[in-house]
Amino acid sequence: MIRFDQVSKLYKGNARPALNAVTLEILRGEFVFLVGASGSGKSSFLRLVLKEENPSNGQIHVLGQNLAQLTSRKVPYFRRNLGVVFQDFRLLPQKNVFDNVAFSLQVIGKSKGFIQEAVPDVLKMVGLAGKTNRLPHELSGGEQQRVAIARAIVNKPAILLADEPTGNLDPSTSAGIMTLLERISQSGTTVIMATHDAGIVDQMQRRVIELVSGQIVRDERQGGYQTQTIPVQGFGPASVSRSNLGIAGHAEEVSR
Protein backbone atom coordinates (compact mmCIF):
# COMPACT_ATOMS: atom_id res chain seq x y z
CA MET A 1 0.00 0.00 0.00
CA ILE A 2 2.68 2.48 1.05
CA ARG A 3 6.37 1.69 0.74
CA PHE A 4 9.31 3.94 1.60
CA ASP A 5 12.78 2.86 0.45
CA GLN A 6 15.64 4.76 2.10
CA VAL A 7 13.68 8.01 1.84
CA SER A 8 15.40 11.21 2.93
CA LYS A 9 13.97 14.69 2.85
CA LEU A 10 16.20 17.70 3.13
CA TYR A 11 14.62 21.15 3.20
CA LYS A 12 16.55 24.05 1.71
CA GLY A 13 18.70 25.97 4.14
CA ASN A 14 18.52 23.25 6.75
CA ALA A 15 21.48 20.96 7.17
CA ARG A 16 19.60 18.38 9.25
CA PRO A 17 17.26 16.22 7.18
CA ALA A 18 13.57 16.17 8.11
CA LEU A 19 13.55 12.48 7.24
CA ASN A 20 16.69 10.38 7.17
CA ALA A 21 16.83 7.10 5.27
CA VAL A 22 13.36 5.99 6.26
CA THR A 23 12.37 2.51 5.11
CA LEU A 24 8.96 1.10 5.95
CA GLU A 25 5.94 -0.62 4.51
CA ILE A 26 2.31 -0.13 5.47
CA LEU A 27 -0.22 -2.73 4.34
CA ARG A 28 -3.81 -2.50 3.23
CA GLY A 29 -6.27 -1.90 6.08
CA GLU A 30 -3.61 -1.19 8.70
CA PHE A 31 -4.15 1.43 11.41
CA VAL A 32 -0.82 3.14 12.07
CA PHE A 33 0.09 5.73 14.66
CA LEU A 34 2.96 8.04 13.78
CA VAL A 35 4.42 9.43 17.00
CA GLY A 36 7.34 11.65 17.84
CA ALA A 37 8.15 15.12 19.07
CA SER A 38 7.36 18.22 17.03
CA GLY A 39 9.84 18.46 14.18
CA SER A 40 10.57 14.74 14.20
CA GLY A 41 9.33 14.40 10.61
CA LYS A 42 5.73 13.22 11.02
CA SER A 43 4.23 15.95 8.86
CA SER A 44 6.99 15.60 6.29
CA PHE A 45 6.14 11.92 6.07
CA LEU A 46 2.47 12.68 5.38
CA ARG A 47 3.35 15.38 2.83
CA LEU A 48 5.59 12.94 1.01
CA VAL A 49 2.80 10.37 0.82
CA LEU A 50 0.53 13.07 -0.64
CA LYS A 51 3.28 14.12 -3.06
CA GLU A 52 3.06 17.66 -1.77
CA GLU A 53 6.81 17.34 -1.47
CA ASN A 54 9.31 15.25 -3.37
CA PRO A 55 11.92 13.23 -1.48
CA SER A 56 15.55 14.31 -1.76
CA ASN A 57 16.55 10.66 -1.88
CA GLY A 58 14.93 7.28 -2.09
CA GLN A 59 11.79 5.82 -3.59
CA ILE A 60 8.18 6.12 -2.48
CA HIS A 61 5.46 3.81 -3.72
CA VAL A 62 1.85 4.56 -2.86
CA LEU A 63 -1.02 2.41 -4.14
CA GLY A 64 1.36 0.66 -6.52
CA GLN A 65 2.57 3.89 -8.09
CA ASN A 66 6.10 5.18 -7.97
CA LEU A 67 5.57 8.79 -6.92
CA ALA A 68 8.77 9.94 -8.63
CA GLN A 69 7.30 8.91 -11.98
CA LEU A 70 3.97 10.63 -11.38
CA THR A 71 3.71 13.70 -13.64
CA SER A 72 2.29 16.84 -12.08
CA ARG A 73 -0.70 16.52 -14.40
CA LYS A 74 -1.52 13.15 -12.84
CA VAL A 75 -1.01 14.18 -9.22
CA PRO A 76 -4.62 15.44 -8.78
CA TYR A 77 -6.01 12.11 -9.99
CA PHE A 78 -3.64 10.26 -7.65
CA ARG A 79 -4.85 12.38 -4.71
CA ARG A 80 -8.44 11.33 -5.31
CA ASN A 81 -7.43 8.00 -3.73
CA LEU A 82 -6.28 9.68 -0.52
CA GLY A 83 -8.27 11.38 2.20
CA VAL A 84 -6.66 13.95 4.49
CA VAL A 85 -7.73 15.34 7.87
CA PHE A 86 -5.97 18.15 9.72
CA GLN A 87 -5.78 19.44 13.25
CA ASP A 88 -7.43 22.73 12.19
CA PHE A 89 -10.29 21.08 10.22
CA ARG A 90 -9.92 23.39 7.18
CA LEU A 91 -13.62 23.74 6.44
CA LEU A 92 -15.02 26.47 4.21
CA PRO A 93 -16.64 28.90 6.65
CA GLN A 94 -19.31 30.22 4.29
CA LYS A 95 -20.55 26.78 3.21
CA ASN A 96 -22.82 24.60 5.32
CA VAL A 97 -22.02 21.02 6.34
CA PHE A 98 -23.60 19.46 3.27
CA ASP A 99 -21.92 21.89 0.84
CA ASN A 100 -18.53 21.47 2.49
CA VAL A 101 -18.64 17.75 1.84
CA ALA A 102 -20.30 18.14 -1.56
CA PHE A 103 -17.66 20.68 -2.64
CA SER A 104 -14.93 18.03 -2.67
CA LEU A 105 -17.05 15.91 -5.01
CA GLN A 106 -18.12 18.81 -7.24
CA VAL A 107 -14.57 19.89 -7.96
CA ILE A 108 -13.56 16.43 -9.13
CA GLY A 109 -16.51 16.41 -11.50
CA LYS A 110 -18.93 14.02 -9.81
CA SER A 111 -22.55 14.14 -10.96
CA LYS A 112 -25.30 15.84 -9.00
CA GLY A 113 -27.07 12.51 -8.52
CA PHE A 114 -23.95 10.90 -7.06
CA ILE A 115 -23.46 13.83 -4.68
CA GLN A 116 -27.10 13.75 -3.55
CA GLU A 117 -26.63 10.09 -2.57
CA ALA A 118 -23.09 9.97 -1.24
CA VAL A 119 -23.10 13.07 0.97
CA PRO A 120 -26.10 12.18 3.21
CA ASP A 121 -24.70 8.63 3.53
CA VAL A 122 -21.32 9.78 4.75
CA LEU A 123 -22.82 12.43 7.05
CA LYS A 124 -24.96 9.72 8.61
CA MET A 125 -21.88 7.56 9.08
CA VAL A 126 -19.99 10.32 10.94
CA GLY A 127 -23.05 11.08 13.05
CA LEU A 128 -24.07 14.44 11.59
CA ALA A 129 -27.23 13.39 9.78
CA GLY A 130 -29.31 16.04 11.54
CA LYS A 131 -26.93 18.94 11.03
CA THR A 132 -26.52 19.14 7.27
CA ASN A 133 -27.60 22.77 7.07
CA ARG A 134 -25.42 24.14 9.86
CA LEU A 135 -22.48 26.41 9.13
CA PRO A 136 -19.09 25.37 10.52
CA HIS A 137 -19.07 28.08 13.20
CA GLU A 138 -22.34 26.74 14.55
CA LEU A 139 -20.70 23.38 15.29
CA SER A 140 -18.48 22.20 18.13
CA GLY A 141 -14.86 21.35 17.42
CA GLY A 142 -15.59 17.66 17.42
CA GLU A 143 -18.44 18.12 14.99
CA GLN A 144 -16.28 20.23 12.71
CA GLN A 145 -13.68 17.47 12.69
CA ARG A 146 -16.42 14.98 11.79
CA VAL A 147 -17.32 17.18 8.81
CA ALA A 148 -13.66 17.21 7.79
CA ILE A 149 -13.51 13.42 8.11
CA ALA A 150 -16.72 13.09 6.11
CA ARG A 151 -15.17 15.24 3.40
CA ALA A 152 -12.02 13.10 3.43
CA ILE A 153 -13.80 9.77 3.08
CA VAL A 154 -16.83 10.67 0.94
CA ASN A 155 -14.95 9.60 -2.20
CA LYS A 156 -14.07 6.27 -0.54
CA PRO A 157 -10.29 6.70 -0.52
CA ALA A 158 -8.00 3.71 0.01
CA ILE A 159 -5.84 5.66 2.45
CA LEU A 160 -6.81 8.19 5.13
CA LEU A 161 -4.05 10.48 6.40
CA ALA A 162 -4.76 12.27 9.66
CA ASP A 163 -2.36 14.94 10.94
CA GLU A 164 -3.10 15.30 14.66
CA PRO A 165 -6.86 15.12 14.14
CA THR A 166 -7.51 15.29 17.89
CA GLY A 167 -4.96 18.01 18.59
CA ASN A 168 -7.62 20.69 19.15
CA LEU A 169 -10.16 18.52 20.92
CA ASP A 170 -10.83 17.57 24.53
CA PRO A 171 -10.27 13.93 25.55
CA SER A 172 -13.88 12.74 25.42
CA THR A 173 -14.46 14.38 22.03
CA SER A 174 -11.18 12.87 20.83
CA ALA A 175 -12.45 9.48 21.90
CA GLY A 176 -15.49 9.94 19.68
CA ILE A 177 -13.28 10.85 16.74
CA MET A 178 -11.11 7.77 17.38
CA THR A 179 -14.16 5.53 17.39
CA LEU A 180 -15.05 6.99 14.02
CA LEU A 181 -11.54 6.49 12.63
CA GLU A 182 -11.54 2.93 13.88
CA ARG A 183 -14.81 2.25 12.10
CA ILE A 184 -13.35 3.70 8.90
CA SER A 185 -10.32 1.45 9.33
CA GLN A 186 -12.54 -1.59 9.80
CA SER A 187 -14.20 -0.93 6.46
CA GLY A 188 -10.82 -1.58 4.82
CA THR A 189 -9.31 1.90 4.63
CA THR A 190 -5.68 2.25 5.61
CA VAL A 191 -5.45 4.91 8.33
CA ILE A 192 -2.22 6.72 9.16
CA MET A 193 -2.50 9.10 12.08
CA ALA A 194 0.20 11.44 13.33
CA THR A 195 -0.45 12.26 16.97
CA HIS A 196 0.92 13.48 20.29
CA ASP A 197 -1.99 12.05 22.23
CA ALA A 198 -0.42 9.32 24.37
CA GLY A 199 -3.72 8.26 25.90
CA ILE A 200 -5.22 7.42 22.55
CA VAL A 201 -2.18 5.50 21.36
CA ASP A 202 -1.99 3.49 24.58
CA GLN A 203 -5.69 2.72 24.48
CA MET A 204 -5.88 1.60 20.85
CA GLN A 205 -2.92 -0.80 20.91
CA ARG A 206 -2.21 -0.56 17.18
CA ARG A 207 0.95 -0.39 15.13
CA VAL A 208 3.13 2.50 16.32
CA ILE A 209 5.96 4.06 14.32
CA GLU A 210 8.08 6.46 16.34
CA LEU A 211 10.25 9.07 14.66
CA VAL A 212 13.11 10.89 16.33
CA SER A 213 14.95 13.52 14.28
CA GLY A 214 13.71 12.03 11.05
CA GLN A 215 14.68 8.46 11.83
CA ILE A 216 12.49 5.52 12.73
CA VAL A 217 13.48 4.43 16.22
CA ARG A 218 10.60 2.06 16.83
CA ASP A 219 8.05 0.16 14.76
CA GLU A 220 5.86 -1.90 17.06
CA ARG A 221 2.92 -4.13 16.14
CA GLN A 222 0.73 -3.32 19.12
CA GLY A 223 2.52 -0.54 20.90
CA GLY A 224 1.82 2.30 23.23
CA TYR A 225 2.93 5.90 23.03
CA GLN A 226 6.16 4.89 24.73
CA THR A 227 7.55 1.44 24.38
CA GLN A 228 7.07 -1.10 27.15
CA THR A 229 9.98 -3.31 26.09
CA ILE A 230 12.78 -0.85 26.78
CA PRO A 231 12.74 0.95 30.11
CA VAL A 232 12.30 4.68 29.63
CA GLN A 233 13.63 7.21 32.05
CA GLY A 234 10.76 8.64 33.96
CA PHE A 235 10.11 12.27 33.13
CA GLY A 236 7.42 14.01 35.02
CA PRO A 237 5.15 14.80 32.07
CA ALA A 238 5.54 11.30 30.67
CA SER A 239 3.87 9.73 33.64
CA VAL A 240 1.06 12.24 33.40
CA SER A 241 0.56 11.63 29.72
CA ARG A 242 0.44 7.91 30.35
CA SER A 243 -2.11 8.31 33.11
CA ASN A 244 -5.48 6.96 32.38
CA LEU A 245 -7.14 9.50 30.09
CA GLY A 246 -9.45 6.73 29.09
CA ILE A 247 -11.39 6.25 25.92
CA ALA A 248 -14.72 5.57 27.55
CA GLY A 249 -16.76 4.64 24.57
CA HIS A 250 -18.58 7.20 22.50
CA ALA A 251 -19.03 10.37 24.45
CA GLU A 252 -21.63 12.87 23.38
CA GLU A 253 -20.16 16.19 22.35
CA VAL A 254 -21.55 19.37 23.66
CA SER A 255 -22.35 22.08 21.18
CA ARG A 256 -20.83 25.40 21.86
Partner: protein
Protein backbone atom coordinates in the same frame (compact mmCIF):
# COMPACT_ATOMS: atom_id res chain seq x y z
CA UNK B 1 -22.79 20.67 -13.71
CA UNK B 2 -19.12 21.51 -13.94
CA UNK B 3 -19.77 24.33 -16.39
CA UNK B 4 -22.34 25.85 -14.05
CA UNK B 5 -19.96 25.51 -11.12
CA UNK B 6 -17.14 27.19 -13.04
CA UNK B 7 -19.36 30.05 -14.19
CA UNK B 8 -20.65 30.68 -10.66
CA UNK B 9 -17.04 30.76 -9.44
CA UNK B 10 -16.24 33.31 -12.16
CA UNK B 11 -19.23 35.42 -11.14
CA UNK B 12 -18.18 35.31 -7.48
CA UNK B 13 -14.63 36.32 -8.34
CA UNK B 14 -15.75 39.25 -10.50
CA UNK B 15 -18.12 40.50 -7.83
CA UNK B 16 -15.63 40.13 -5.00
CA UNK B 17 -12.96 42.17 -6.83
CA UNK B 18 -15.25 44.63 -8.52
CA UNK B 19 -12.96 47.66 -8.15
CA UNK B 20 -9.94 45.81 -9.56
CA UNK B 21 -12.07 44.43 -12.37
CA UNK B 22 -13.22 47.94 -13.27
CA UNK B 23 -9.62 49.15 -13.38
CA UNK B 24 -8.69 46.23 -15.63
CA UNK B 25 -11.60 47.13 -17.91
CA UNK B 26 -10.54 50.78 -18.07
CA UNK B 27 -6.87 50.10 -18.67
CA UNK B 28 -7.52 47.54 -21.41
CA UNK B 29 -10.09 49.92 -22.89
CA UNK B 30 -7.61 52.80 -23.14
CA UNK B 31 -4.62 50.73 -24.22
CA UNK B 32 -6.54 48.91 -26.93
CA UNK B 33 -8.03 52.20 -28.15
CA UNK B 34 -4.47 53.38 -28.73
CA UNK B 35 -3.62 50.12 -30.46
CA UNK B 36 -6.68 50.61 -32.68
CA UNK B 37 -5.73 54.23 -33.39
CA UNK B 38 -2.21 53.17 -34.40
CA UNK B 39 -3.59 50.55 -36.78
CA UNK B 40 -6.04 53.06 -38.25
CA UNK B 41 -3.23 55.58 -38.81
CA UNK B 42 -1.24 52.94 -40.69
CA UNK B 43 -4.32 52.22 -42.81
CA UNK B 44 -4.67 55.96 -43.48
CA UNK B 45 -1.03 56.24 -44.51
CA UNK B 46 -1.39 53.26 -46.84
CA UNK B 47 -4.54 54.69 -48.34
CA UNK B 48 -2.99 58.12 -48.96
CA UNK B 49 0.16 56.63 -50.46
CA UNK B 50 -1.90 54.55 -52.83
CA UNK B 51 -4.03 57.54 -53.75
CA UNK B 52 -1.11 59.84 -54.46
CA UNK B 53 0.93 57.23 -56.24
CA UNK B 54 -1.90 56.95 -58.74
CA UNK B 55 -1.92 60.71 -59.25
CA UNK B 56 1.48 62.05 -58.34
CA UNK B 57 3.53 62.82 -61.36
CA UNK B 58 6.97 63.92 -62.22
CA UNK B 59 6.84 67.41 -63.65
CA UNK B 60 9.43 68.68 -66.10
CA UNK B 61 9.33 72.48 -66.04
CA UNK B 62 10.62 74.21 -69.15
CA UNK B 63 12.45 77.55 -69.07
CA UNK B 64 10.68 80.89 -69.15
CA UNK B 65 12.29 84.22 -70.06
CA UNK B 66 12.30 85.23 -66.39
CA UNK B 67 14.13 82.19 -65.03
CA UNK B 68 17.81 81.49 -64.43
CA UNK B 69 17.40 78.19 -62.61
CA UNK B 70 18.64 74.90 -64.10
CA UNK B 71 19.64 75.20 -67.74
CA UNK B 72 17.75 78.52 -68.16
CA UNK B 73 19.41 81.76 -69.17
CA UNK B 74 16.48 84.15 -69.21
CA UNK B 75 15.41 82.68 -72.53
CA UNK B 76 12.13 80.94 -73.22
CA UNK B 77 12.56 77.27 -74.10
CA UNK B 78 12.53 76.84 -77.86
CA UNK B 79 10.37 74.50 -79.88
CA UNK B 80 13.30 72.26 -80.68
CA UNK B 81 14.30 72.05 -77.00
CA UNK B 82 10.75 70.93 -76.13
CA UNK B 83 10.92 68.40 -78.96
CA UNK B 84 14.23 67.12 -77.58
CA UNK B 85 12.71 66.57 -74.17
CA UNK B 86 9.71 64.88 -75.69
CA UNK B 87 11.82 62.55 -77.81
CA UNK B 88 14.03 61.79 -74.83
CA UNK B 89 10.93 60.77 -72.85
CA UNK B 90 9.84 58.59 -75.78
CA UNK B 91 13.24 56.91 -76.08
CA UNK B 92 13.24 53.15 -75.42
CA UNK B 93 15.14 53.59 -72.13
CA UNK B 94 12.42 55.73 -70.56
CA UNK B 95 9.27 54.76 -72.43
CA UNK B 96 9.09 51.50 -70.47
CA UNK B 97 8.78 53.37 -67.18
CA UNK B 98 6.18 55.87 -68.26
CA UNK B 99 2.46 55.37 -68.25
CA UNK B 100 1.53 58.64 -69.91
CA UNK B 101 2.91 62.09 -70.71
CA UNK B 102 0.88 65.27 -71.08
CA UNK B 103 2.22 68.62 -72.16
CA UNK B 104 0.68 71.80 -70.76
CA UNK B 105 1.44 75.13 -72.47
CA UNK B 106 1.43 78.49 -70.72
CA UNK B 107 -2.32 78.99 -70.96
CA UNK B 108 -3.20 75.54 -69.60
CA UNK B 109 -0.76 75.90 -66.70
CA UNK B 110 -2.22 79.33 -65.97
CA UNK B 111 -5.74 77.94 -65.96
CA UNK B 112 -4.77 75.22 -63.42
CA UNK B 113 -2.95 77.78 -61.36
CA UNK B 114 -6.00 80.03 -61.23
CA UNK B 115 -8.25 77.22 -59.99
CA UNK B 116 -5.85 76.17 -57.21
CA UNK B 117 -4.80 79.62 -56.02
CA UNK B 118 -7.84 81.77 -56.78
CA UNK B 119 -8.06 83.03 -53.18
CA UNK B 120 -4.38 83.84 -52.80
CA UNK B 121 -3.32 87.49 -52.74
CA UNK B 122 -0.96 88.27 -55.56
CA UNK B 123 -2.47 85.65 -57.86
CA UNK B 124 -3.77 88.50 -60.00
CA UNK B 125 -0.26 89.71 -60.83
CA UNK B 126 0.77 86.38 -62.31
CA UNK B 127 0.63 86.22 -66.07
CA UNK B 128 0.76 83.04 -68.16
CA UNK B 129 4.33 83.93 -69.24
CA UNK B 130 5.62 83.59 -65.67
CA UNK B 131 4.49 80.01 -65.44
CA UNK B 132 6.63 77.27 -66.92
CA UNK B 133 5.36 75.05 -69.64
CA UNK B 134 5.23 71.59 -68.16
CA UNK B 135 5.54 67.95 -69.16
CA UNK B 136 3.46 66.02 -66.63
CA UNK B 137 4.62 62.42 -66.50
CA UNK B 138 2.68 59.61 -64.94
CA UNK B 139 5.02 56.76 -63.97
CA UNK B 140 4.25 53.08 -63.80
CA UNK B 141 6.47 52.82 -60.72
CA UNK B 142 6.52 56.14 -58.82
CA UNK B 143 9.80 55.30 -57.09
CA UNK B 144 11.64 55.49 -60.44
CA UNK B 145 11.30 59.30 -60.59
CA UNK B 146 15.06 59.73 -60.23
CA UNK B 147 15.70 57.98 -63.52
CA UNK B 148 13.58 60.57 -65.31
CA UNK B 149 15.32 63.40 -63.54
CA UNK B 150 18.80 62.15 -64.42
CA UNK B 151 18.06 61.76 -68.09
CA UNK B 152 16.08 64.96 -68.60
CA UNK B 153 17.32 67.59 -66.13
CA UNK B 154 20.55 68.28 -68.06
CA UNK B 155 18.84 68.93 -71.36
CA UNK B 156 18.87 72.47 -72.65
CA UNK B 157 15.74 74.46 -71.89
CA UNK B 158 14.78 72.41 -68.82
CA UNK B 159 14.30 74.51 -65.68
CA UNK B 160 13.84 71.67 -63.23
CA UNK B 161 12.41 68.20 -62.78
CA UNK B 162 10.22 67.81 -59.72
CA UNK B 163 8.95 64.62 -58.11
CA UNK B 164 5.57 65.72 -56.80
CA UNK B 165 5.64 62.98 -54.18
CA UNK B 166 8.31 64.97 -52.35
CA UNK B 167 5.61 67.42 -51.28
CA UNK B 168 3.77 64.61 -49.50
CA UNK B 169 6.73 63.31 -47.53
CA UNK B 170 6.22 65.69 -44.55
CA UNK B 171 2.59 64.60 -44.31
CA UNK B 172 3.56 60.93 -44.23
CA UNK B 173 6.32 61.69 -41.72
CA UNK B 174 3.78 63.40 -39.44
CA UNK B 175 1.32 60.53 -39.77
CA UNK B 176 4.08 57.99 -39.11
CA UNK B 177 5.20 59.89 -36.02
CA UNK B 178 1.62 60.00 -34.75
CA UNK B 179 1.28 56.28 -35.40
CA UNK B 180 4.56 55.55 -33.58
CA UNK B 181 3.44 57.67 -30.63
CA UNK B 182 0.16 55.81 -30.46
CA UNK B 183 2.00 52.48 -30.62
CA UNK B 184 4.40 53.39 -27.81
CA UNK B 185 1.60 54.67 -25.58
CA UNK B 186 -0.33 51.50 -26.41
CA UNK B 187 2.65 49.31 -25.47
CA UNK B 188 3.09 51.08 -22.13
CA UNK B 189 -0.60 50.81 -21.39
CA UNK B 190 -0.64 47.15 -22.40
CA UNK B 191 2.21 46.42 -20.00
CA UNK B 192 0.18 48.14 -17.28
CA UNK B 193 -2.88 46.13 -18.29
CA UNK B 194 -1.00 42.83 -18.16
CA UNK B 195 0.44 43.59 -14.72
CA UNK B 196 -2.93 44.75 -13.48
CA UNK B 197 -4.64 41.60 -14.71
CA UNK B 198 -1.98 39.45 -13.06
CA UNK B 199 -2.40 41.34 -9.76
CA UNK B 200 -6.16 41.10 -9.92
CA UNK B 201 -6.05 37.37 -10.49
CA UNK B 202 -3.53 36.92 -7.69
CA UNK B 203 -5.78 38.88 -5.37
CA UNK B 204 -8.74 36.81 -6.43
CA UNK B 205 -6.78 33.61 -5.85
CA UNK B 206 -5.61 34.86 -2.47
CA UNK B 207 -9.14 35.58 -1.32
CA UNK B 208 -10.06 32.05 -2.35
CA UNK B 209 -6.95 30.30 -1.05
CA UNK B 210 -8.94 28.09 1.33
CA UNK B 211 -11.01 26.74 -1.53
CA UNK B 212 -7.88 26.37 -3.66
CA UNK B 213 -6.14 24.44 -0.90
CA UNK B 214 -9.04 22.07 -0.50
CA UNK B 215 -9.43 21.65 -4.25
CA UNK B 216 -5.81 20.61 -4.53
CA UNK B 217 -6.15 18.33 -1.52
CA UNK B 218 -9.15 16.43 -2.85
CA UNK B 219 -7.62 16.16 -6.32
CA UNK B 220 -9.33 18.74 -8.50
CA UNK B 221 -7.48 18.87 -11.81
CA UNK B 222 -5.29 21.87 -12.53
CA UNK B 223 -7.44 22.87 -15.47
CA UNK B 224 -10.55 22.85 -13.30
CA UNK B 225 -8.82 25.05 -10.72
CA UNK B 226 -7.38 27.59 -13.13
CA UNK B 227 -10.24 27.94 -15.61
CA UNK B 228 -12.40 30.25 -13.43
CA UNK B 229 -9.46 32.59 -12.86
CA UNK B 230 -8.48 32.74 -16.51
CA UNK B 231 -12.09 33.34 -17.51
CA UNK B 232 -12.28 36.10 -14.93
CA UNK B 233 -9.33 37.92 -16.52
CA UNK B 234 -10.55 37.26 -20.06
CA UNK B 235 -14.06 38.54 -19.33
CA UNK B 236 -12.74 41.75 -17.76
CA UNK B 237 -10.36 42.30 -20.68
CA UNK B 238 -13.04 41.50 -23.24
CA UNK B 239 -15.31 44.17 -21.78
CA UNK B 240 -12.39 46.59 -22.20
CA UNK B 241 -11.81 45.38 -25.77
CA UNK B 242 -15.47 45.85 -26.67
CA UNK B 243 -15.38 49.40 -25.31
CA UNK B 244 -12.16 50.06 -27.27
CA UNK B 245 -13.78 48.68 -30.43
CA UNK B 246 -16.77 50.97 -29.94
CA UNK B 247 -14.39 53.90 -29.45
CA UNK B 248 -12.44 53.07 -32.62
CA UNK B 249 -15.61 52.65 -34.68
CA UNK B 250 -17.06 55.93 -33.42
CA UNK B 251 -13.77 57.77 -34.03
CA UNK B 252 -13.91 56.70 -37.66
CA UNK B 253 -17.64 57.29 -37.95
CA UNK B 254 -17.93 60.70 -36.27
CA UNK B 255 -14.45 62.24 -36.43
CA UNK B 256 -12.81 60.93 -39.59
CA UNK B 257 -15.89 60.63 -41.76
CA UNK B 258 -18.19 63.08 -40.04
CA UNK B 259 -15.68 65.90 -39.50
CA UNK B 260 -12.46 65.43 -41.52
CA UNK B 261 -14.33 63.97 -44.48
CA UNK B 262 -16.49 67.08 -44.84
CA UNK B 263 -13.58 69.47 -44.26
CA UNK B 264 -11.24 68.33 -47.01
CA UNK B 265 -13.10 66.57 -49.76
CA UNK B 266 -10.16 65.79 -52.03
CA UNK B 267 -8.21 63.76 -49.42
CA UNK B 268 -8.96 60.05 -49.24
CA UNK B 269 -9.91 58.91 -45.72
CA UNK B 270 -10.31 55.47 -44.20
CA UNK B 271 -13.85 54.16 -44.08
CA UNK B 272 -16.00 52.03 -41.84
CA UNK B 273 -14.72 48.82 -43.46
CA UNK B 274 -11.25 49.64 -42.09
CA UNK B 275 -12.72 50.25 -38.63
CA UNK B 276 -14.55 46.91 -38.71
CA UNK B 277 -11.28 45.24 -39.67
CA UNK B 278 -9.66 46.61 -36.48
CA UNK B 279 -12.41 45.33 -34.16
CA UNK B 280 -11.56 41.60 -34.27
CA UNK B 281 -7.85 42.43 -33.87
CA UNK B 282 -8.61 44.33 -30.65
CA UNK B 283 -10.86 41.58 -29.29
CA UNK B 284 -8.26 38.89 -29.96
CA UNK B 285 -5.38 40.95 -28.53
CA UNK B 286 -7.39 41.69 -25.37
CA UNK B 287 -8.44 38.08 -24.83
CA UNK B 288 -5.02 36.59 -25.52
CA UNK B 289 -3.18 39.04 -23.25
CA UNK B 290 -5.64 38.46 -20.42
CA UNK B 291 -5.56 34.68 -20.76
CA UNK B 292 -1.76 34.70 -20.84
CA UNK B 293 -1.21 36.91 -17.83
CA UNK B 294 -4.00 35.27 -15.80
CA UNK B 295 -2.68 31.76 -16.38
CA UNK B 296 0.81 32.94 -15.51
CA UNK B 297 -0.48 34.54 -12.31
CA UNK B 298 -2.46 31.51 -11.22
CA UNK B 299 0.27 28.98 -12.03
CA UNK B 300 1.94 29.80 -8.71
CA UNK B 301 -1.09 28.42 -6.91
CA UNK B 302 -1.06 25.18 -8.87
CA UNK B 303 2.42 23.92 -8.08
CA UNK B 304 2.25 20.46 -6.61
Amino acid sequence: MRFGLIMSEVGNGLRRNISMVISVVLVTFISLTFVGAAILLQFQIGQMKGFWNDRAQVSVYMCTDSSTAGQCKLVEATKSQKADVESQLKSPALAGLIKSVTFENHDQVYKNYKTYFKDTTGADFITPAFLSETFSINLKDPSKADVIRESVASLAGVEQVVDQRKYLDPIFAALNAASLTAVSIAVLMLVAAVLLIATTIRLSAFSRRRELGIMRLVGASNRFIQTPFILEGVIAALIGSVLASLAVVSIVRFFVQGYLGTQSLDTPFIGMSDAYLVVPILLVVGAVLAAGSASFAISRYLKV
